[in-house]
Subunit: 340 residues, 2 copies
């Protein structure tokens, strides 16, 4: 992949680019950001090794990408003129295009025709399947599902799920990661963007997502979306829980966040939030939280460790920052609870 992250490749920006580097480093030929080039990904992020950061698609071509990646655009998911030019150029150079934006390239007649002529694939990862149905209410019969729940959007649900998934694999358990958002879908090559499905099919899309991930796995780690206390996205979160019928949650939180971002809703104390999730679909199933995953990126090491200890004390549950300190104790708690 050559990943476009022009002007925004940094540890806190360009979530898609950063996560692809973190979880699919072997697939990343180069990152394009004129404001950082020339550099290595290691120099910019503090991890990622010698992957080059270059100034243009042209400069990326010597590293032999076969796919051009448009990550989440910072301009609200719209295809800016510069990005469009880059996509056209990439297709002309014979690259497939993986598009994480709200706007679909396959709906752009000119780009779609060009791709056909060039024999390349345009993958709009945010386009949901068109044959979704209402949930059956059976969840995932093949194996248990772990749901990464959040106090808010952007608290590390995808990352925690991925770290637990990788941690479980190391422990000899066959886990599968079920991606429900564009970054996870790009990393794993599959999944369903649940936030884009028609409301009637939230549960059904989630059920299909976990069922398609399940064959051959001992456990499915399902990437949650939104939060049950988010005024805008609560429907997606509750609907995913009711559709997937997970056996356990891992609760993901950023300790310095006091309120839902851009909303007045206060995030309750962690122990209370654990209770809210455990009772979320009480009429269907009670689902325990078995571990806490903190996102402490904005704290120093000492403060991060204190935050982890404090979360543990407050909830009597194992807590980790999976990126900073590893996810072992939470992985252990999941395995014990599910006997896998």
């Amino acid at each position: 992949m050559a990943i476009l992250a022009d002007g925004c490749f940094s540890p806190l920006g360009a979530k898609t680019a950063v996560c692809l580097v973190r979880y699919a480093p072997g697939e990343v030929a180069a990152v394009i950001d004129a404001s950082r080039a020339p550099a290595t990904v290691q120099e910019v992020l503090g991890f990622g090794g010698a992957i080059p950061v270059v100034a243009s698609l042209n400069e990326a071509l010597p590293y032999r990408p076969n796919t051009f990646v448009l990550g989440t655009a910072p301009r609200g998911g719209k295809l800016a003129d510069a990005d469009r030019t880059a996509v056209v150029e990439a297709i002309r150079r014979g690259l497939h295009v993986m598009n994480g934006m709200h706007e679909f390239l396959n709906d752009d007649d000119e780009i779609a025709a060009l791709a056909r002529r060039s024999g390349v694939v345009l993958w709009d990862v945010r386009r949901p399947p068109d044959d979704l149905v209402v949930a059956s209410g059976e969840g995932c019969p093949l194996c248990p599902v772990v749901f990464t729940a959040g106090s808010d959007c952007n608290t590390g649900k995808m990352t925690a799920g991925m770290e637990i998934h990788l941690g479980r694999l190391r422990g000899g358990v066959r886990s599968a990661f079920a991606a429900s958002g564009q970054t996870g879908i790009m990393i794993t090559g599959g999944g369903i963007p649940v936030d884009r499905v028609v409301a009637d099919f939230i549960g059904g899309a989630t059920e299909r997502l976990v069922r398609e991930a399940a064959p051959g796995a001992d456990v499915v780690i399902l990437e949650g979306q939104g939060s049950i206390i988010h005024p805008g996205y609560a429907g997606i979160t509750f609907g995913m829980i009711a559709g997937a019928l997970p056996l356990v949650y891992v609760l993901c939180h950023q300790p310095t966040r006091r309120a839902i971002r851009n909303y007045g809703v206060e995030i309750p104390a962690l122990a209370e939030l654990v209770g809210l999730y455990e009772r979320a679909i009480d009429g269907i199933r009670r689902i325990p939280v078995v571990g806490i995953a903190l996102n402490t990126y904005d704290l120093d090491d000492g403060a991060a460790r204190r935050a982890v200890e404090s979360a543990q004390r407050a909830t009597s549950l194992p807590a980790v920052d999976p990126v900073r300190f590893g996810s072992d104790s939470v992985v252990r708690a999941i395995r014990e609870f599910l006997s896998i």
Copy 2:
């Protein structure tokens, strides 16, 4: 309106046709059902007076309809050949078409072109607005919202809301009915089909719906969808609650229903279900249930009265069957709670 309900016009079938007759009788010129014609609506439903039931669109024309209504088709929302023929004929006769099916007439090039040539409007009531946004989290600042919540789908949420709305008007309170499903939208001439919006916008669509209904009203009665214990539709229900931020619920239930229809989920005792709804979005707001609306259509009068009394005893809340016994005690409870 001339309402097509061919082969299904009965008290328990053709929900859209029956509800239009009940709540917009002055707008109904004729009902088309060859299996019942000739008859009056009164003879078929036990209410509705002299509105004729006729065998074909042709026979309906003398009653001077200006709009042809396609209700919810019993075949899963798909436009059957016979229905299509009827739509084409209606347009040729200069009638507007109100379509409640999943399939949109405006997407049918032939029908759309014919409508343009005939100067008639095709209203696909299930098509959501295309400029929805994520909820702001402020709900409805203009006036309080009453949410009709259900134990399941099809338990009388629209009907209870409409009865309360009409009951409130009689009491001198200015109420507005906010329709979230196709039948309510047809009755009131406005609303948003929340089950058809993209998942991201459930809360935002609901917020817009109550805000658009609010100007000039002392209270908005919001028609709920689904149920928080429904594995398929819970996301819509929770999402609507979080978007509308109602001050109170009226809980709608069919006493003879023991489990979610077509699902294994048992419906808990009424008092427990009240608690589940009251705590549903506890992290954002606690919302009390102030009354119970039962749908006792499948009970005789004695059993219906016992069911109402039993619901009252079990929940310590006023209970009614709004259609059979009126909604007075629940309307009173809402007015007292909201001081209107």
